[in-house]
Amino acid sequence: MNPRARRFARSLALSLGLATTLAQAQTAGQEDAPATMRVRFDVIFRGVPRYVLTAQANPVSADDRYWRTIALAPLQERVNLDASNLLRGRVDVHLSAWNAIDLTAPGAVDGRVVGDIAVGWARYHRGPWSVWAGRRFVAWGAPGGLHVDGVGAEVRLAEALRVEAIAGRPVTPVYGGLLGGRPGFDGATGAGGLRIGWSHPGALSASVSYLEQWAAGIPARRVAEASFVANPLRWLDLRGTVSWDLLGLGLMQADLDASAWLGRTVELDVGYGHLDPALLIPRWSILSVFVTRTFDEARARLSWRIVPALQVGAEGAAIHYDVAGVEASKAGPAWGGRAEVFARLSSRDRRESLVAIASRRDDGVQRMTLMRLAGSFPLVREVFGAIEGAVALDNDDFSAPRTSWYGRVSMEGPIAVGWRLGGSVDAVRSPIATSELRGMLHLTARYDRQTGASR
């Protein structure tokens, strides 16, 4: 199918899907669970410079490399649709799609117009069974979850016990131009998994899963994962996720946390994290056979809501790096760390809020300090303003080449029922640009409807 026909087919499918769900949400759900539909539509117009490294051969056969600035003015749109309990409460439809067109070169196609469906799937459920098909994000199975085109099924065996299976083709972003990525399939060619979960919020929720990915004729990844959230005491929460690589028989990733609520205003959170990056690289890449260092992190965070409107806190972490089989002089520093302090201020009605954060990271070789101050507040009635400023110091040096700073002023207000219009102006100093200004206009519409309400 040629690209033009594919675009037309995609537009047609999207239009039909929208029209169907809009119509269904208006009429369905009167007898069973109420049908609900939420739509959010965003239009964003930005003026942004984009930097491209350009190589040009010179007379002495060496490349001249320089940054070339390309002015982009993309008009971007995004629509989110979540319709539930359609067709007598048995069908859910979820869709998130976006596109962008660069108005600096009208008429140009391929590279100036991008867009696709980020997620879009339909689910049919009846009794304890449900099946789905389409493109969706699956939270379990692989570190970071799995974005997949596929099908899945779930059955509720008991009130809290569920078994779920998926099969499909993982989606990975592919960049064809400067406007952004689009889904592609340059990663694994197939994936399948099974999950068994017990969910009893407030007591114990746990799941175990197995996921397998294939590419280039070999199993690229076999991951067994266990995850749990437990509330053994009224003031104690425990949670953790452990991912085990069954191909390399190693601990791929682990995160264990315990949160203790001291009274109702103080929370102490301690945790441990482990990561073996080599196991995150799928087996079809030869890089997966290279030695690299593992991360082990111990962390603690204390936050205190002094008064309902003010919360302060601090966080610290020590990170141990280990490179197995490599002498210390080549392995690099064994210890790093990070620290963060923050304060949050918010009015009782949440209309005014302010946050201040200072964060420092140090991996033994490089250091960075990030300071950020941001707030939002009403200007006139429902017209809101927001300010944001951030400085990232590279190696504690304000004049270092990679030091960056950033400021943004935004304003947004209603222009009709459900519609809000806003604008932002950014001032930026980045490692590439000594200074630049960016502008943005955004228009947002939200539609929220529930039919056949039970009350």
Binding site: A55, D82, G180, L247
Partner: protein, 345 residues
């Protein structure tokens, strides 16, 4: 493009149809204090809960059983707009609550939940309050609240913003450990968040950065705070695993290729001077050991051309395998192995 314009048009039409209707002008005057002072109890007017468990509001007939004087029989005695009288305004609190079930647990004492501070209110000024969530959590439902088991009481959370919920549970650091909760009890998340919510961050399509999609939410704990794009090289060095959890190891490749960054070992590439020199502190081997994922983010697909010419068996570079290495696949049968080790006989 056409489809999204259609979506915009649909939204506009639906929004225009969704304008609020005229506000009811009639209200029913009622004060609890005088009725209590007259010796009535709650159940004198609010008779037994209905079959659905809801508490019954008194009917007009029940009021008239006491208010028998002519002046009290006029509509204007209770209705603020007697020319167009209405029933009680029905408040949709979107709650699942049964008075029939809760009554026995408080021994029929309505004041347990509806009471006010006895020291500051007297029976002459008493007005029962509607219990707030704080009271529910303090008395009985603290565990549900901390576990975000909202659906036990709330039939919908549409009216609440994420900031309001965050005061209950989404405290500092929630962004880091929300994964365990999403995996173990995803249904809890969907009480507030539609399934497409996860995709806003986890589906790596940078056509619309979250900071631009939500420009007014400057105080939220977005992972990509501020101008993340400007400092992403440093951020990715410090904690590449954090990036990889969402973006995958080859996420960087396409963008870096499209912009030309990282395409060589020259002074303007991301590779520092001395990249190929074993004696340099910037030697690529040191950097690879420090963070192999940063290599994989660009070279995952072309590592065979970039790495193996030197690191192959008999090459000038050392064996790259870690101690105790297990390939996990049938050795010497696939290109991942044979590119260096050759095909086994």
């Amino acid at each position: 493009m056409r489809s999204l314009l259609l979506a915009a048009l649909s939204c506009a039409l639906l929004a225009s149809c969704n304008r609020p209707t005229s506000v009811a002008r009639d209200h029913i005057r009622f004060a609890h204090a005088p009725h209590l002072a007259a010796g009535l109890s709650c159940t004198s007017c609010h008779v037994n809960p209905t079959a659905s468990g809801d508490v019954a509001l008194p009917t007009e007939q029940r009021c008239r059983s006491c208010h028998t004087r002519p002046a009290q029989q006029r509509c204007g005695f209770c209705h603020t707009a007697p020319e167009a009288p209405r029933r009680y305004a029905r408040v949709d609190r979107e709650l699942r609550f049964s008075h029939a079930l809760h009554g026995p647990r408080v021994d029929g004492n309505c004041m347990t939940c509806h009471g006010v501070d006895a020291e500051t209110r007297t029976v002459r000024s008493f007005e029962p309050r509607v219990p707030n969530m704080d009271g529910c959590a303090t008395r009985c439902h603290g565990g549900d609240m901390r576990a975000l088991n909202c659906s036990r009481c709330h039939s919908s959370l549409r009216r609440y913003s994420i900031e309001e919920v965050s005061t209950v549970r989404h405290g500092p650091g929630f962004a880091r450990h929300h994964g365990a909760e999403a995996r173990s009890m995803g249904a809890t998340c969907t009480q507030c968040h539609e399934p497409t919510f996860c995709a806003r961050c986890h589906v790596a399509l940078p056509g619309l950065p979250l900071a631009d999609l939500e420009p007014m939410a400057v105080t939220r704990d977005f992972v990509h705070r501020g101008d993340f794009f400007a400092r992403h090289p440093e951020e990715s060095r410090f904690n590449t695993n954090t990036c990889t959890r969402c973006h995958g190891v080859n996420f960087c490749d396409g963008c870096h290729r499209a912009s030309g960054i990282g395409g060589g070992v020259g002074p303007a590439s991301t590779h520092p001077p001395g990249w190929l020199s074993p004696s340099s502190p910037n030697n690529h081997a040191r950097e690879a050991r420090r963070n192999l994922l940063s290599c994989a983010s660009c070279h995952e697909s072309d590592a065979t051309q970039v790495c193996t010419p030197c690191h192959r068996v008999g090459g000038v570079a050392p064996n790259p395998h870690p101690p105790g290495f297990r390939a996990g696949i049938e050795p010497r049968q696939h290109s991942v192995c044979t590119v260096c080790h050759g095909v086994s006989p």
